[in-house]
């Protein structure tokens, strides 16, 4: 039995995720869309906090909400005038999109609900300390993540260079 506070917290977060994701893909103003994305990302960060992964939540806010969305907003401002509205969707296109989305929702939802294993309780877990994260992230032992970490770092480097090369003015 959870505390009422956490239930309320959950409800707010879940509602925010659902509402803002829907709004993010349905609004016709692109800047709003980015804003709704920001809210969704915040809500996601909330889930991470509820899961006791404070570090992850912080990263989510810092990198996603702080970095990516700002990038997106900048590029929106660079590529469109304020007040630009996307034209209305053709009904055929929307129907196809809705079909795909709802079919996905239906099938996956059915699959979820038919598995009672997913009704597991939140188990107890100690705090995840930074020590632990650091050791494991850069460790080579059991569950050590050094190799992916390095791979990601190379990837990031490549992306940085790629980004510069692509966006550079000729």
């Amino acid at each position: 039995m959870e505390s009422v506070g956490s239930i309320i917290m959950y409800l707010i977060i879940a509602l925010a995720i659902i509402v803002f994701s829907v709004l993010a893909v349905t609004t016709r103003k692109i800047l709003r869309s980015a804003t709704y994305l920001l809210f969704t990302l915040f809500a996601t960060a909330g889930i991470y906090f509820m899961m006791d992964y404070q570090f992850l939540g912080a990263v989510q806010i810092a990198v996603y909400a702080g970095g990516i969305v700002v990038l997106v907003v900048f590029s929106i401002l660079l590529t469109s005038k304020p007040g630009d509205k996307a034209e209305k969707l053709a009904s055929k296109r929307r129907a196809i999109g809705l079909l795909a989305a709802f079919a996905m929702l239906g099938v996956s939802g059915y699959a979820l609900l038919s598995r009672c294993g997913f009704f597991a309780q939140l188990p107890a877990m100690g705090d995840v300390t930074m020590d632990q994260i650091g050791d494991q992230l850069l460790g080579t032992g059991q569950g050590g993540m050094l190799l992916p970490f390095e791979a990601i770092s190379v990837l990031l480097l490549a992306c940085i260079i790629g980004g510069i090369v692509v966006a550079r003015k000729r």
């Binding site: 795909a100 059915y110 699959a111």
Partner: protein, 645 residues
């Protein structure tokens, strides 16, 4: 006998051809002409000595104790070996007919070489002309001395090609080009028959060799094992097909159409190739294979019938032609048909095969007097610059030598004794009468026609009325000695050749045979000839309208004969309308549109198919995602359903 002389007989003209052909352009006309003539002269001497040795030396290789002449193979090189038995050899077979042919060919060829020095003087391509003449002489000599049927076929083709080249000598003239093409293709068609005949014959006999075939013709017959094809025995088929080759070369109906057109070539060429030598190759072929032909009565009958029809046809047509060379051409066809008939009616039981001897005799005499006539015609054309007798007339005063020699030629061909033609033609008629009265009468009639049309020609050229030659700027006169000398020599030969005891030299079984005139036949034929000449004299000696009246009274026949009974039109219809328009063009169309169209259709189908599925690879990621997702979901649903069931 040594091998060098026969080898040289073949090698000299060949070398001369190669030499003149390759180096001719570098030398002067005179040089080339004299070289060619000299070469031929040497060949002539060698051939004469060879023939003389064969007939008169009494060498045991050539004549046995009983006085029978023998066939002797001087040399025989293997040229191409198909199987153990089927080997093409290039050899030199010496027997009465080949020795006789050596004499005929080299004589006429030398005369023509000599004559051409004057006739072709100053022509462009003089060296080429002599090169081709040498090539022809080589091929023709190779043909007559062939030891096997395939060697004969090889040289047969070569004479065809050299004839093609010589007919088309004036290659800028479209008529000459088409005439040469026609000659080659018609004879090629006939050669197809020859080739198939050889294939059939060699399949059964397993040999190409003449001696093997002719010395034991029963074996040839036996080897076919009585096989038949479409109702006729295989041997008949083979022989008739081989005869078809002969029909082509010897211009027998219906394959004669090329010969009149072949007169587009220079006149000496007509004398050499299209009167004296190449055109008798067909006769020579049948004579060569004669013992085998004797095995099949049907084949000989076909030879007779074709010969007889051709003789009459050509004689009728010759009566109406205007071009003097064409008259002579049709006369040649008719005379060769005489030889064919003689072979066709020859049987061993009739006077020991007199027909065969007569045929060869006539071949010999005809070669001489027809070459004489052609060379005479050449001299006339040279003087008048026209082929039509309408441009001539009264020439006896202007060209006495030509006149006399031409007259001798006409008398010879008409069969007036004591000229050569009388003796040989008489033997043919005897053979025909002995075989069947009908053939005898038929051929006598043709002989009468011959006398008529020859004298018609003679009178139109040398008598009739005299056109005003001065008005045209040049008065005709006799040709230089290089041209008249051959005329005189040939005329002399035409006078005396009849007295050669031919039966002693050439018979079908190579036993000596004493010619004795059959007085009834001789008298009849001479009478007929004289009457025909008289009619011609009445009609054509002086300008008058009798001939036109007669022509008008039988207008249909006259026109038909004048147009050679529309054979050319028939052939043009067959080749152009049927072969080209109904076979070749549809095939070409079929190939481009159906066969190629099918291939293109595959390509188009592939193109269309890829165009149709190209839309799936639109490059739009959104569509990809949609399809991917729906596909994944479908799979999911299917899985779920399966799990539930």
């Amino acid at each position: 006998m040594d091998q060098i002389t026969p080898l040289l007989i073949l090698a000299l003209p060949l070398c001369m051809f190669l030499f003149l052909g390759l180096a001719g352009n570098k030398m002067s006309h005179k040089m080339a002409g004299i070289l060619g003539t000299l070469g031929m002269g040497v060949t002539l001497i060698l051939a004469y000595s060879t023939a003389f040795t064969y007939f008169f030396s009494g060498n045991p290789d050539f004549i046995d104790a009983a006085g029978n002449r023998l066939q002797s193979v001087i040399f025989d090189f293997t040229w191409l070996e198909f199987t153990e038995n089927l080997v093409i050899k290039l050899g030199f077979l010496l027997d009465p007919i080949s020795a006789m042919m050596l004499v005929v060919i080299t004589t006429i060829s030398f005369m023509v070489h000599l004559y051409s020095l004057g006739y072709m003087h100053g022509e462009k391509g003089f060296q080429r002309y002599y090169a081709f003449l040498s090539l022809f002489s080589f091929s023709m000599l190779g043909l007559v001395v062939a030891t096997n049927i395939f060697q004969m076929y090889i040289f047969w083709e070569l004479v065809g090609a050299s004839s093609y080249l010589l007919i088309g000598f004036y290659y800028t003239k479209p008529s000459a080009v088409s005439a040469s093409k026609k000659a080659f293709i018609v004879t090629r068609f006939a050669d197809l028959g020859f080739l198939i005949g050889i294939l059939i014959l060699s399949f059964f006999t397993e040999t190409f060799n003449f001696i093997d075939m002719t010395s034991a013709p029963e074996n040839v017959l036996a080897s076919t094992g009585g096989a038949t094809f479409m109702g006729a025995s295989v041997l008949t088929w083979a022989l008739v097909l081989i005869f078809m080759g002969g029909m082509g070369k010897s211009a027998m109906m219906p394959l004669h159409i090329w010969l009149p057109d072949a007169m587009e070539g220079p006149t000496p060429v007509s004398a050499l190739i299209h009167a004296a030598t190449m055109v008798v190759a067909g006769v020579y072929l049948v004579a060569r294979m004669f013992p085998v032909y004797l095995m099949e009565e049907a084949a000989l009958t076909i030879v007779t019938v074709v010969g007889a029809l051709t003789a009459l046809y050509a004689a009728i047509v010759a009566c109406t032609q205007v071009d003097i060379k064409r008259v002579l051409a049709f006369s040649t066809i008719s005379q060769i048909a005489f030889m064919m008939v003689a072979l066709g009616v020859a049987r061993p039981e009739i006077h020991e095969g007199v027909g065969y001897m007569a045929s060869m005799f006539h071949l010999f005499t005809h070669a001489m007097f027809k070459a004489l006539l052609f060379l005479g015609a050449g001299a006339l054309i040279h003087a008048v610059h026209s082929n039509d007798y309408t441009a001539m007339g009264g020439l006896r005063k202007y060209m006495p030598i030509t006149h006399i020699t031409f007259l001798i030629g006409c008398l010879a061909i008409a069969g007036i004794p004591p000229f050569a033609g009388f003796f040989s033609k008489d033997e043919i008629l005897v053979a025909a009468f002995e075989n069947n009265m009908l053939w005898g009468l038929w051929m006598t009639a043709v002989a009468g026609l011959t006398a008529f049309y020859m004298f018609r020609l003679y009178y139109r050229i040398f008598w009739w009325n005299t056109p005003d030659y001065e008005k045209h700027g040049h008065v005709p006169h006799d040709a230089p000695w290089t041209m008249t000398l051959p005329l005189i020599i040939l005329a002399t030969v035409s006078i005396v050749a009849g007295f050669i005891p031919f039966g002693e030299l050439v018979t079908w079984n190579r036993e000596a045979y004493h010619i004795h005139l059959n007085w009834t036949v001789a008298t009849t034929s001479v009478l007929v000839a004289v009457v025909a000449i008289l009619i011609a004299t009445v009609m054509y000696r002086k300008e008058n309208a009798i001939s036109d009246k007669i022509a008008n009274s039988v207008k249909g026949l006259w026109t038909a004969a004048y147009n050679r009974f529309y054979f050319d039109e028939l052939y043009i219809f067959i080749t152009h309308k049927i072969i080209f328009n109904l076979v070749s063009r549809p095939i070409a169309w079929f190939d481009r549109h159906i066969i190629d169209g099918t291939m293109d259709m595959f390509a188009t189908m592939a193109h269309k198919a890829s165009g149709a599925i190209k839309g799936l690879q639109s490059g739009s990621i959104q569509t990809y995602v949609l399809v991917y997702l729906l596909g994944a979901l479908l799979l999911g649903v299917v899985t779920v359903v399966c799990v539930m069931l």
